[in-house]
Every structure is written in C-alpha cells, then in structure tokens.
Subunit: 126 residues, 2 copies
C-alpha cells in the first residue's frame, strides 16, 4: 500500500481503488484511541464501562466513536444483551486480533527504545 511504486503497470484503475481504500483504512486505524482500544481489548471481552476505565483518559464520546468505526471495519464484535440496565460487550474479531499482533509489536518497540528515545529528546531540547 501507500505505494504505486510497487506496481509496474502504469494504468490500473483497480489497483488505485484498492490503494485509496487501503489509505482510508490506514487513516482510520492509525490513531491513538483506536490502537489503544485494540490493545486494551486484547483477548478479553469487555463491557463499555470496563473499556472506559481500561483505556485511560478516553472520553465517553471518543470511545463510542472509535468503537463504531472499529465495528464498521469488522475489527470488533459488538454484542447487546437486551437486559435492563443494558449490557454491551465488545471483543476483537479475527481481523482485530490480527491487527493486535502488530500493535503489540509497536508496544514492544516502545519498551525497547524507551531509554533511547528519552535520551534523544534531551539532546534535541538543548
């Protein structure tokens, strides 16, 4: 994705459509809250309120908004239990779990280079 560079074909409408779709998806998921939600969900099944406290700092609005987006893209399953009070559970789909693996990679990376980054910041802020 990102790249027509990999396509040798000069004129390919289908590829460019796939590219723009890929770009759209990328823009959807490459944001702080979406990735934090995915990481927090992990292998668990969580209720809305649990996610609310699990994803630290997220507002009610941002959480619903991102959950809708993730559901729309087929990354999370949303199950509503028509009880009273209502109970709504969220869990990662297979696609979601696939993405989660790469997000885990990002987290590992952050841990590994934490000191590195901290040092780089200090020398930059001279």
């Amino acid at each position: 994705m990102v790249t027509k560079q990999f396509s040798g074909l000069p004129e390919d409408a289908d590829l460019s459509r796939a590219d723009s779709l890929a770009r759209e998806i990328f823009s959807d998921i490459a944001n702080k809250w979406a990735l934090l939600i995915i990481e927090t969900l992990g292998e668990q099944t969580l209720r809305f309120g649990e996610l609310r406290t699990g994803v630290e700092g997220v507002s009610h609005k941002m959480l619903t908004q991102n959950l809708r987006m993730l559901e729309r893209n087929g990354l999370v399953d949303r199950t509503v239990y028509p009880t009273v009070p209502p109970r709504v559970e969220y869990t990662l789909t297979e696609a979601g779990r696939g993405l989660r693996k790469t997000v885990d990679g990002m987290c590992d990376w952050t841990q590994r280079y934490l000191g590195h980054i901290e040092a780089s910041r200090r020398s930059f802020d001279d």
Copy 2:
C-alpha cells in the same frame, strides 16, 4: 505499556513515569502522517521535497512538523548540506527501522483483510 495491570507492585513511581512516557511516545507515533513517513522512508534516504511527493497528500506544514517530532524522538536522522539552494536529507535511524518493521506489519495486515473490511463496511452501512 498501556497497562499497570501487568505490574504486581501497587506503588511504583518509576513504573508510572515510564508508563506516561510510553504513552506520550505512543501518542506521538500513532498518527497517520508519522507512520506514512516512516513507511515511505523505508531503507532510502530522501530529501524533503521527495518525501513531500512520496507521502501523498501531506502538506508542507504537516511534513515538517512530523519530521521534527520524529527527529526529536530519534527515529529519523536529519542531515543538512549547507549548499545553495539548501539540501536536507532524511533517513531512518536504527530505532526508526525497528518501528518500520511493525508498520510494515500493519500494511501487510491491511492488504490481507482489505476485502474482509470492505464487506464488513457494506453490511454495516445498511
């Protein structure tokens, strides 16, 4: 990261400092343009203008802004050749190349689930 849940220790100031730093870094890099820049740079060394056209749709301002941020965090090296007109080259550091691997993973994931996602979107938009 993300999670004090993994720490058994109830009171650990250092861990929470590391956590908030990790969170800060995560917020920095978990954004569309930063990831696209990293992905576009790849193994190459590119000038500002080349990045400008390589990262499709990015504005002058966003590009400089994100490049500064990436430089500050030690993900890209910035080399200025004091010629006239000036020539500035950007390349990934070792840390940057490490992160790139996980971004590659995200791109692969996008490709694999493209059809999946497209279908999910259609059924969601009923």
